[in-house]
Structures are given as structure tokens and as C-alpha cells.
């Protein structure tokens, strides 16, 4: 995540959005300049990001942006405006009162935006406003506009200025205005390109419409010149192509790592996969959706309860890095053993990713060892102090073993035997029934006050308590543990099962014991 800062204004920007393309974001006017930072990575990146800093806007004069054909304001280095051209002018605090032409919109903190098209006949008021702002006007020149024949597309030249591309089926019409002539021939229109050239003298008047017929595919320039050199020339580059239209497609695809997936005939994708790496950031190419530009993607995560986790938009190229755009939920999806990630593109289709985490035993073992190292000693002193033991030890441990933990229904608690001094919880298990994710209680967890009680479960009253809880909840299995010694009990059975010391099972060289422990106590995946 990057931050764009201008004075006391701050805009977080997802760094992935900036990779490899132009990204536009609105900024307020500021005389303090615009700087980038990377919170948490200042020491590594601030030098590089410093090169992107832009100095602030002056408060003693206006700042002029020329609006190009794509509607983008380009900062003008000089202060000379051209007739017929659209400009956006940032007015510093206090400067707006002298403006009487065009639209002025407040930008906050006294700054204003003045947008105008410079008219061919500049009034006295406007001329004095320009003069007051130190703005000059270029010499008078005709104004050229393509009117009445919409372009098929716009291309851009090397300088980034766009020009229209007309189809061969339409004769483009050029409107010439901004100059008044008294005699025919004062103005001449020249059109050249694709190996041809033609000109026409324009009759006396102040506005002309000229239809350009017989244009073969190719690049052209239309230019209007006046007999007097005091009046400037106007040029309008354009292109003619057989079929200039470019139409957006309904096509959708999904890339997970190296694999590209296409939808079925209905537009849907259903894919069994492990999303852990994609959301953990370790999968090259991540999880990337390709669909029409600006299409909205509603992202849902279902792990027993379906919830909308993000409303995202594909960018102007039709690309969306799904995993990078759901940061608050990365951990949730990465940790979950099972779940459905639905990316809903409305009528264009649903991408349904059936997540099934592939457990890497070595990775899990390392996490459990880390838990023992960081919390084990404290947890041993908390045996029997259930709320603290749960928060510090049991919940993280059961989470690593892919169990959800929930309290017993109050109506089930009231008749349970209290003699053992143990606490009863339920371990949830996620499963997929058809396409639906279902979270159900799988086992009763009886948490004993000490190790001896687990090792002598019958005498300590744990069997009785487990049987009662199983009857109440309709479950058949219970885990008996003090947090460290783990045993299983089947409801109604009178046989002592073996127990495993979790601390021993995770030790180096005891891998087979660990696998037995996992088999008994982790969620079956």
C-alpha cells in the first residue's frame, strides 16, 4: 500500500494498481506539494518515491491545464492560451472573484477550478481577467471541429495527443469557425494524406461546414490557412480506416498462478483449488480476473456463512488482481481449510472457486512448534483458568488444527455434571454439501483442569461429562484435554483410549507420533 500526501490530505493507493499502467486519482489543490510514501517501507522506498514528488501549486498566480481530446488536463508550461481550446485553470485562494466567464467550481480551502473554452471573440471583461492573471492569447486562428460524424475511435500520437479515426463509410465533416472573412479565398482548407492532396477556398463568412468525401484509408491532416500571416494556421490530424470500431467483449477468464481458466457456455467457472498461496502472496501471478473494463465484481466468501467481502471494479484494461484487492480477508482465506470464493460478475458469470487447503505437514509442524515456544510455558500455568487458557492457547491451537470452536448452547450446559471441574466446548468442522459450505459441530471438547484428570479420565468424571455432552448435542466423539495431553473418547464406551502428549508429538524425530496426533485431532481434509 502506498500513500499519496498533499499537506494534510492523504490518499491510500493499492500498489498493485500502479504496476505497468497509468493510474489516475483525483487530488486536491495544494501549495505544499504532492509526495508518495510507502508506510512500513519508508527506509527502503522513500528515496525512489521521492523522485515522483511534485511541487505544490503557486498561491500567487494561476495554474493552467490544457484539456486534451481525451478530457485529460495537461499542465501548460507557458501561459499563452489558444482560441477554441478548452482549459482548466486552478485559481488560488482569493482569485475567483474576478472571473465572469465559464464555470467556476470550488475545490475547497479557497481554491477554485475555472473551466472554459477560449472564445474566438474575447470580450473586454475576459481580456482584462486574462491580463490580471498574466495569461496571454496566441494570435487569432481558425477553430476546427469535427461535427456531425462521430469518430469510430481515437488514436494517440507519440506526444499523447489523440486524433479521430473515421470509418470509410462516413464522410467526415469539418467545421471551421473563429475567423470572419470579407471575401472568398481569404481562407483555404487543405487536406492531404494517403498520397492525395486537395484544397478548397472558403467563401466569405464566419463559419463553414466542409464535407470530406472520397477518403481512402490512411493518415491525413486538414489545415486551414489565412491569406494574412498575422492570422495563425489551424491543423486537425485525422485517420481513415476501413473498420475503426473496437467493441468490448463479454469474454471472461481467470488466471490462478500459471493456469488460465475459461468459463463454460453459461459464462461460469467452477474450479477446485487451494487459494492459500494466492491469498498468502506466494503464488506467482496470484488470482487475476480478466473481464470487460470497469465491470463490478462482488466477492463472496463462504465458510459456513456466506458473506460479501469486497465490491471491486476491474480497471480500464479489464484486469483485477482479486487477492491483492481483498487485504482484510487475505488471512481468513489463507488459513481456512475449506471454503467457497465466489466472484460474481453479474450477468457475465460467476467464478466459483472451491477452496481446499492442502496441508503441508512440515509447515504445520513449524507453526505448532512456534506456538509452544512462544506461549507454551505461560499456558502450562493457566491450566484450569479456562478463559485465559482458551484465549492464549486453546483457540490458536485449535485454529491451527483447523477447528472452529463454539460454546455449548446454554440449554445444554445446565444439566451437565460440574463435579469434574472441566469445561465443555464444541469443535466445528467445515464440509461441502453439494455447492454449499456447511459448518457443523463435530466433536465435544472436554477441557480438564489438569493433566492427571486426562490420564485418569474415567475416575476424574470426564467420561461421564463427555457422555452427557454428546447425548445433549447428538455427537458421538469427544476430545479430552488439558491443552497438552490429548485423548479421544467415544460416547458410551467404557474403554480407555490412548493419549498423546502434544509437546512430545511435535518434537524432532517424533514425526510418526505427530502424524498419529494429526490423524486423531486435526480436521479430516
Amino acid at each position: 500500500m502506498l500513500q499519496l500526501i498533499a499537506g494534510d490530505w492523504l490518499q491510500p493507493v493499492i500498489a498493485a494498481n500502479l504496476s505497468g499502467r497509468v493510474w489516475r486519482t483525483p487530488v486536491p489543490p495544494s501549495h505544499e506539494g504532492y509526495t508518495w510514501t510507502a508506510p512500513g517501507f519508508e527506509s527502503e522506498l522513500d528515496d525512489d518515491l521521492g523522485r515522483l514528488s511534485i511541487t505544490g501549486l503557486p498561491t500567487d498566480r494561476v495554474t493552467v491545464f490544457r484539456v486534451d481530446a481525451a478530457g485529460i488536463g495537461r499542465l501548460l508550461t507557458g501561459s499563452t492560451l489558444s482560441v477554441g481550446q478548452r482549459y482548466r485553470i486552478i485559481l488560488p485562494p482569493g482569485a475567483a472573484t474576478s472571473v465572469t466567464t465559464g464555470e467556476v467550481a470550488p475545490l475547497g480551502k479557497g481554491w477554485n477550478l475555472w473551466e472554459l473554452v477560449v472564445p474566438s471573440q474575447v470580450s473586454g471583461d475576459l481580456a482584462s481577467t486574462f491580463e490580471g492573471f498574466g495569461i496571454g492569447l496566441s494570435k487569432a486562428a481558425p477553430c476546427l471541429e469535427w461535427i456531425g460524424t462521430p469518430a469510430g475511435r481515437y488514436d494517440a500520437n507519440a506526444a499523447g495527443q489523440s486524433y479521430p479515426v473515421f470509418g470509410t463509410n462516413l464522410a467526415p465533416v469539418l467545421r471551421v469557425s473563429g475567423i470572419k472573412t470579407r471575401a472568398a479565398g481569404e481562407l483555404t482548407l487543405f487536406v492531404g494524406g494517403a498520397g492525395t492532396f486537395e484544397s478548397i477556398t472558403l467563401p466569405a463568412g464566419d463559419s463553414w461546414w466542409v464535407r470530406l468525401e472520397g477518403l481512402a484509408p490512411g493518415d491525413y491532416v486538414a489545415e486551414v490557412a489565412h491569406q494574412r500571416s498575422a492570422i495563425g494556421r489551424a491543423r486537425a490530424p485525422f485517420r481513415v480506416a476501413a473498420n475503426p470500431g473496437v467493441w468490448p467483449s463479454c469474454d471472461v477468464s481467470l488466471t490462478l498462478g500459471q493456469d488460465l481458466h475459461h468459463p463454460d457456455a453459461d459464462g461460469d467457472i467452477e474450479l477446485k483449488c487451494d487459494l492459500g498461496a494466492a491469498f498468502g502472496g506466494s503464488l506467482e501471478n496470484g488470482l487475476v480476473l480478466q473481464a470487460p473494463a470497469f465491470r463490478r465484481a462482488a466477492v463472496f466468501w463462504s465458510d459456513g456463512k456466506r458473506r460479501r467481502i469486497a465490491d471491486l471494479y476491474l480497471d480500464e484494461t479489464g484486469r483485477l488482481d482479486v487477492a491483492a484487492s481483498c487485504p482484510p480477508f487475505e488471512g481468513l482465506i489463507e488459513r481456512s481449510p475449506l471454503g467457497n470464493l465466489d466472484i460474481d460478475l453479474g450477468e457475465l458469470g460467476i467464478m466459483r472457486l472451491l477452496h481446499h487447503k492442502e496441508i503441508a505437514v512440515g509447515e504445520l509442524l513449524a507453526k505448532l512448534r512456534d506456538l509452544i515456544t512462544t506461549k507454551g510455558a505461560n499456558a502450562e500455568h493457566l491450566r484450569g483458568q479456562y478463559p485465559m487458557l482458551r484465549a492464549l492457547w486453546l483457540d490458536p491451537l485449535l485454529s491451527l488444527l483447523y477447528h472452529g470452536v463454539r460454546e455449548l448452547d446454554p440449554s445444554h450446559v445446565q444439566d451437565l455434571s460440574a463435579e469434574s471441574g472441566a469445561m465443555v466446548l464444541l469443535a466445528d468442522e467445515l464440509s461441502r454439501e453439494g455447492m454449499r459450505m456447511v459448518r457443523k459441530p463435530r466433536r465435544v471438547i472436554v477441557i480438564a483442569p489438569n493433566e492427571t484428570a486426562v490420564l485418569n479420565a474415567k475416575e476424574a468424571g470426564l467420561w461421564e461429562l463427555a457422555d452427557q455432552a454428546c447425548r445433549k448435542t447428538g455427537l458421538t466423539e469427544a476430545v479430552l484435554t488439558d491443552g497438552f495431553i490429548w485423548g479421544l473418547h467415544t460416547a458410551g464406551r467404557k474403554v480407555q483410549s490412548g493419549t498423546t502428549d502434544f509437546r512430545e508429538a511435535v518434537q524432532v524425530g517424533r514425526e510418526s507420533l505427530f502424524e498419529t496426533f494429526l490423524y486423531s485431532h486435526a480436521v479430516t481434509l
Binding site: 460524424t149 463509410n169 463479454c250
Partner: protein, 344 residues
């Protein structure tokens, strides 16, 4: 081939433009068509720029306020011809044909009508304001489907288009879902500091107030509620769901416009302040809808009937009597509105 430069007149150009768009220049459908042309040519643009350029095209012939063009652009975004993203950016949407049966299709997408006529010469293409239809003389054949594929288009059912199976109906369950989302994914009050917003309004579903438009109350007058909105200085609305306090003092969930509409209908229902839609029964049903509908239900109505919008912003839908029998229960069950026959 030699270039031929011909002096012409504004009237000639005006006639040609009307022929190209298929409508007189003072017809709103012309504005819609020019917006499609402009955006098809640009690919991606800003709302402001698109409106400016269309206004410049029309300015030579007729006085069309930019506000009217902006509203038409919003209508095209809502109908599905244009896609929009935060920050006022817009792009043409791909071509989708919704199968209405009888070789007739409702058409959605940024492709303008003159290109459609060129690509589908055997089809009859008609238009009423923003809504366009395509009728074929026979069942769509391989050639038609191939053309459609080349253009990136797709045929779909009305159910797929509307998407009512993918979104909850209005009601308590929708509100519960919002509250869950508020817990999981809320914005802190200071997250609004960087938006330049006017005063917050809160939605109060008062049964004595007949329209949703008038149920938005200014927070400065002490109104309380969970659904909030404020106008951004650049013109658009921002919406939020809270636990009951203004988003500037409490955590909030940012809502899209579509979610806001679904939430307003849900609040109306659970507060006993459901809206009443009037309909008139004759040879057809004319339904007056004086509210912005959630997207799925809006799309459903749009392809089920014929829509027209009056100057107050209210929509009139015309339905065949048979179609009305299917529409009526859908409206009642999903929006919980009351339908009242003006004849009774």
C-alpha cells in the same frame, strides 16, 4: 480515389446526423446514441469529458444542457449500456442480447445503433429512449451467432440478465447481512475526512412520507437512522450504513448505490412504511414507479415491460396483462411494495 471537399450547411449536417442516429436531434434517444458513439470511440473516458464532447457535437444544432446529457449518461449506466467505476470513469459495456422469445431481444451495450445495423443487416432494430430491441425474421442462425461472437456479444435469458437469483430480496435478512458486513469491513469515522462531502442526510422510513426521495432528512435537524448519504462536491452521492450514528462519528460500511436502494426498500418494509406503486388497468397495465429500484428488480421490470420516464424522474412501465401476472408477485415478494389499482 480522389479527395472531394464539399461545402455544406449546418442543416445538411443536422439531417445526416439525425439519419445516423435514427432520431431527431431533440429526441433524448439521440443524446443516448451520441453518448454511445463518443464512448465507443474513446474506449475509456471520464463522465465529464464524455458529456462535454457530446454537448459540443450538439451545440452547433440545438441547445442541450449538460445536465440533461449527464442524466442520460447515468441512465445508460443504470440500464447496462455503459460501465462505470469510482472516480467518474466510464467505459462502453459489451453487447448482451436478452432473449425475450419470439426472435426478439432486448439489447444492452455500448455499441451504437449504426454499427449494429451494419453488423446485423437482417435484424430490425428499434429504440425508445435508452432501451433498444432487436427483432429477427427467423430464429437466430449460425451466421447471426458468429457475428455476435466476433463482436464480443452474448445471448442470455431474462433471469440471467436480471440476476434476482443472485441477490437477496429486500427485507430483514438483507439488513442483518449489512450489519454483519459492518462488523467485518467497516470504515473508521476519519476515513471520510478526505472526501469533500456536503452535509450528511439520514434515511427515515416515515409512512406519512409517500416517496423515498423525501425520506432523506438532514442530520443537522437531529434525524437518526442507519442509512446515510452525503453528496460529494464533484456531484455524486456517497452512501453508508452505520449502527445508528452519523458516519463521521461512528464506524460505517460504504454502500454502492444499488445496495443503498435495496437497503431503503428493506427499511421501508421492516418499519411498516412500504411504498405504494399505482397502476392502471386497461388493455395493458401502466405502472407508475416513483422510486429508484435496486438493479436486479430494475432490470427485471425493464425487460418485462416498456419503460418511459417523465420529467419528474418517475418511471412508467407498460405491461401486457399476461406479463403483469408474473411481474406483480415478484414486486410484492422482493420489494414488499403495495400495488394499488387507480381504478378501484
Amino acid at each position: 480515389m480522389a479527395i472531394n471537399l464539399v461545402i455544406t450547411t449546418a442543416d445538411r449536417v443536422r439531417e445526416n446526423l439525425a439519419r445516423l442516429t435514427g432520431h431527431a436531434l431533440d429526441d433524448p434517444a439521440t443524446v443516448a446514441e451520441l453518448l454511445r458513439h463518443e464512448l465507443s470511440a474513446r474506449g475509456v473516458s471520464s463522465r465529464r469529458s464524455v458529456c462535454d464532447n457530446v454537448q459540443a457535437q450538439l451545440a452547433a444544432f440545438t441547445d442541450c444542457p449538460r445536465e440533461d446529457i449527464r442524466k442520460m449518461l447515468e441512465e445508460l449506466e443504470r440500464s447496462g449500456d455503459i460501465s462505470s467505476a469510482p472516480g467518474g470513469r466510464v467505459a462502453p459495456a459489451p453487447l448482451r442480447l436478452v432473449d425475450l422469445g419470439g426472435n426478439k431481444f432486448a439489447m444492452f451495450g455500448g455499441m451504437h445503433a449504426s454499427a449494429l445495423r451494419r453488423e446485423f443487416p437482417s435484424a430490425k432494430i428499434t429504440c425508445e429512449q435508452t432501451q433498444r430491441w432487436l427483432a429477427l425474421p427467423d430464429a437466430p442462425g449460425a451466421e447471426f451467432m458468429d457475428n455476435l461472437k466476433v463482436l464480443g456479444g452474448r445471448v442470455m435469458s431474462t433471469a440471467r440478465w436480471a440476476g434476482m437469483d443472485r441477490v437477496q430480496p429486500c427485507g430483514a435478512e438483507w439488513l442483518d447481512d449489512l450489519s454483519t458486513r459492518l462488523e467485518l469491513d467497516h470504515c473508521r469515522p476519519d476515513s471520510w475526512d478526505f472526501e469533500s462531502l456536503d452535509e450528511w442526510n439520514v434515511y427515515v422510513p416515515d409512512p406519512a412520507v409517500p416517496t423515498q426521495r423525501k425520506r432523506w432528512c438532514r442530520s443537522s435537524k437531529g434525524a437518526q437512522g442507519r442509512l446515510w448519504r452525503a453528496r460529494h462536491r464533484l456531484g455524486w452521492w456517497m452512501h453508508a450504513w452505520t449502527g445508528g450514528e452519523c458516519p463521521t462519528v461512528a464506524n460505517s460500511l460504504k454502500l454502492r448505490q444499488d445496495d443503498t436502494m435495496r437497503t431503503a426498500f428493506s427499511l421501508d418494509f421492516v418499519s411498516g412504511a412500504a411504498l405504494t406503486f399505482l397502476f392502471t388497468k386497461g388493455t395493458e397495465i401502466v405502472l407508475l414507479v416513483d422510486a429508484f429500484l435496486p438493479l436486479a428488480e430494475y432490470r427485471f421490470l425493464n425487460v418485462s415491460g416498456r419503460q418511459s420516464r417523465d420529467e419528474t424522474g418517475a418511471c412508467r412501465y407498460r405491461f401486457d396483462l399476461d406479463t403483469w401476472e408474473a411481474v406483480r408477485p415478484t414486486l410484492c415478494e422482493r420489494l414488499h411494495v403495495e400495488l394499488k389499482d387507480t381504478n378501484s
